[in-house]
């Protein structure tokens, strides 16, 4: 047995490495956070770390950036709009993709491989190229400017990656579970609902996060399909409108960046506990 102390020494480089990486990663963000509390004139003239010269001098900080952001973008309405857009725009593609991933992973059908490859290949389509043809059809269907339109659009753009990630997970489930459920009398849909979905919770959690962040941070799709009037504009549109046309007002941008980061981070932190190990351990191992 290695002594406890010894083991700690062995893993010391490991801890140092992790902490180093974490520091590198957090540094730019920390700069952003501190900048968001500094007045505009300071931002342009000195580095953000200079606040540490006298960290308890609170006069060098200001909440006015946040005040400006929150009051100017009409945050309540923008927040509601964002949620109205984001929640269905996450749920719809994940449901559609789960169905498809399940079929691709566990069913035999003609053209299965072809369609799977096609679906994954679509990951590369630049969405900018799709805007004009789709908006044309939307206009004819009366979908432009409607929430339904933007939900479907986000679903479409998100699908390839979601299908790809879901397939990777669902195809890795042990086949005996499916067979056992078949013999227990489950239909393909019951297997999907009672077995595949519950077992895919870790994958669903991470995919939800990705899709959520993507929709949450989207600007272009919202502007094109929904327009930017205040009654429908999501946070991103409002925030980007806050920054002057010439790209000035960095201090507002930094504050806005933190306001808009908040919810995705909360989602990430609260879903993180689903990334747990070994749900399957009991079924596939003796």
């Amino acid at each position: 047995m290695i002594a406890k102390q010894n083991r700690f020494l062995l893993s010391l480089p490991l801890h140092i490495f992790i902490i180093l990486v974490a520091l590198i990663w957090i540094f730019p963000t920390a700069g952003l956070l501190i900048t968001s509390f500094r007045p505009a004139s300071e931002v342009a003239s000195s580095g953000w770390w200079t606040v540490f010269a006298n960290p308890f001098d609170f006069t060098q900080f200001t909440l006015s950036n946040y005040k400006d952001v929150i009051t100017n973008i009409g945050i309540g309405r923008a927040f509601v709009n964002t949620l109205i857009i984001t929640i269905p725009a996450c749920i719809i593609p994940i449901i559609i993709a789960s169905f498809a991933a399940y079929a691709f992973a566990w069913m035999e059908f003609w053209g299965r491989r072809f369609f799977f490859i096609l679906f994954v290949g679509l990951l590369v389509v630049p969405l900018q190229m799709t805007l004009i043809p789709i908006l044309r059809i939307f206009n004819q269907l009366g979908l432009s400017g409607s929430f339904l339109g933007i939900w479907l659009a986000h679903a479409g753009y998100g699908l390839p990656l979601v299908i790809y990630l879901m397939y990777n997970f669902v195809s890795g489930l042990p086949s005996e579970i499916f067979e056992s459920a078949t013999i227990d009398g489950a239909t393909t849909f019951q297997i999907f609902k009672s077995i595949v979905l519950p077992l895919s919770v870790p994958a669903l959690a991470s995919i939800t996060i990705f899709q959520f962040i993507w929709v949450w941070n989207d600007l272009l799709v919202a502007l094109v399909y929904l327009g930017g009037t205040p009654d429908v504009a999501p946070l991103t549109v409002r925030i980007s409108a806050l920054v002057g046309s010439y790209g000035q007002n960095w201090e507002l941008l930094t504050a806005a960046a933190f306001v808009s980061m908040l919810l995705p981070l909360i989602i990430f932190l609260s879903l993180q506990r689903y990334f747990v190990r070994g749900i399957l351990a009991g079924s596939i191992k003796g």
Binding site: I177, E179, S180, G286
Partner: protein, 366 residues
């Protein structure tokens, strides 16, 4: 009534023939064991009965009903998997209740059935646990319990004990046998372990390379193997096969193995006459050798001399690895034998129990 009948069932995976024209008839309430080495097609056969594999040709009947096109859930069967295939996200109760819920049974009945099964298997206290909180043996019981609650006509077991340790395996063996008596249902059980097959089965079906080699009650198969494969597969240690020649001298038949010559009993003669002077394979089970010191029937016609190479004491019996000429033999002898390694020993063959096989067709001659 749950007979299970396979008529000329064949299953091909692309070019590979996994099951080759198998016909089996399993009686109601029988404990049928499909046994064979891995890759012999036994699991595929079982899965075909379950409906998990579609057969390439042939017909499967369960309870006199053609089930080829009937989905697994309507075949009135339950299956226990080698890896148990418990639903990892459900507790034990729900694992067992899942199939019943799908069949929309009333809640009270589900409760009652699960309780009953849990009692039978002694897992009443585990109902709230998840599979990963259970030991291997407990998971095994849950898997069986899940099959029991369904009250199917036919139980299918796919190597259910192979993931358990040796002691637990012996205990579970007995338990499954008891369960069979209690449930009064047809059981089809797949294993590669011939001891499991011998101890549990009312009838065993030996498969090799996708073909049925022999079917019958375990002892019958043991005593009268239909061919070289069955003879070698059933019994442990395996039967000794000695390539030799059949000689006729003075109207008696002899086995000439170059290093020894033994005289066959007269009741063999009718079946072997056509092999006179030809190559045959002479088969002797280890327990049909006896130490001459303690076996008075030894004569010059049934005794051979051999050198002891290894001795493995098993308790009341001892395995002797012998070398007789160029033939390596294994003999299971009385533990009183006091010879040492390297010494020579005289062993008596119990000739009426020996077998002769045709080296070309591998069929049993006698």
């Amino acid at each position: 009534m749950a007979r299970v009948t396979l008529k000329k069932v064949t299953k091909k995976f692309k070019e590979v023939v996994a099951v080759d024209n198998i016909s089996i008839d399993i009686e109601d309430k029988e404990f049928a064991v499909l046994v064979g080495p891995s890759g012999c097609g036994k699991s595929t056969t079982l899965r075909a009965i379950a409906g998990l594999e579609e057969v390439t040709s042939g017909e499967i009947y369960i309870a006199e009903r053609l089930v080829n096109d009937i989905p697994p859930k309507d075949r009135d069967i339950a299956m226990v998997f080698q890896n148990y295939a418990l639903y990892p996200h459900m507790d034990v109760y729900n694992n067992m209740a899942f199939g019943l819920k799908l069949r929309k049974l009333p809640k009270e009945e589900i409760d009652q059935r699960v309780q009953e099964a849990a009692e039978i298997l002694g897992i009443e206290k585990l109902l709230k646990r998840r599979p990963k909180e259970l030991s291997g043996g407990q998971r095994q019981r849950v898997a069986v319990g899940r099959a029991i609650v369904r009250k199917p006509k036919v139980f299918l077991f796919d190597e259910p004990l192979s993931n358990l340790d040796a002691k637990l395996r012996v205990a579970m063996r007995a338990e499954i046998s008891k369960l069979h008596d209690r449930l009064q249902a047809t059981i089809i059980y797949v294993t590669h372990d011939q001891i499991e097959a011998m101890t549990m089965a009312s009838r065993i079906f030996i498969l090799n390379e996708g073909r049925l080699q022999q079917a019958g009650p375990p002892l019958e198969v043991y005593k009268a193997p239909a061919n070289l494969f069955v003879a070698g597969f059933i019994g442990s240690p395996a039967m000794n096969f000695i390539p030799s020649r059949l000689l006729k001298k003075d109207s008696s038949y002899f086995i000439d193995a170059e290093s020894f010559l033994v005289k066959l009993p007269s009741d063999f003669y009718p079946s072997i006459s056509s092999y006179e002077g030809k190559e045959v394979i002479f088969g002797v089970r280890p327990e049909d050798f006896h130490d001459k010191q303690f076996y008075p029937e030894g004569t010059a016609d049934n005794t051979i001399k051999a050198k002891i190479e290894v001795i493995e004491p098993l308790g009341d019996e001892v395995l002797f690895y012998l070398l007789c000429g160029e033939h390596s033999l294994i003999a299971k002898l009385d533990s009183r034998t006091n010879k040492r390694v390297g010494e020579e020993i005289e062993v008596v063959l119990e000739l009426p129990k020996t077998h002769l096989f045709d080296p070309k067709s591998e069929k049993t001659i006698v």
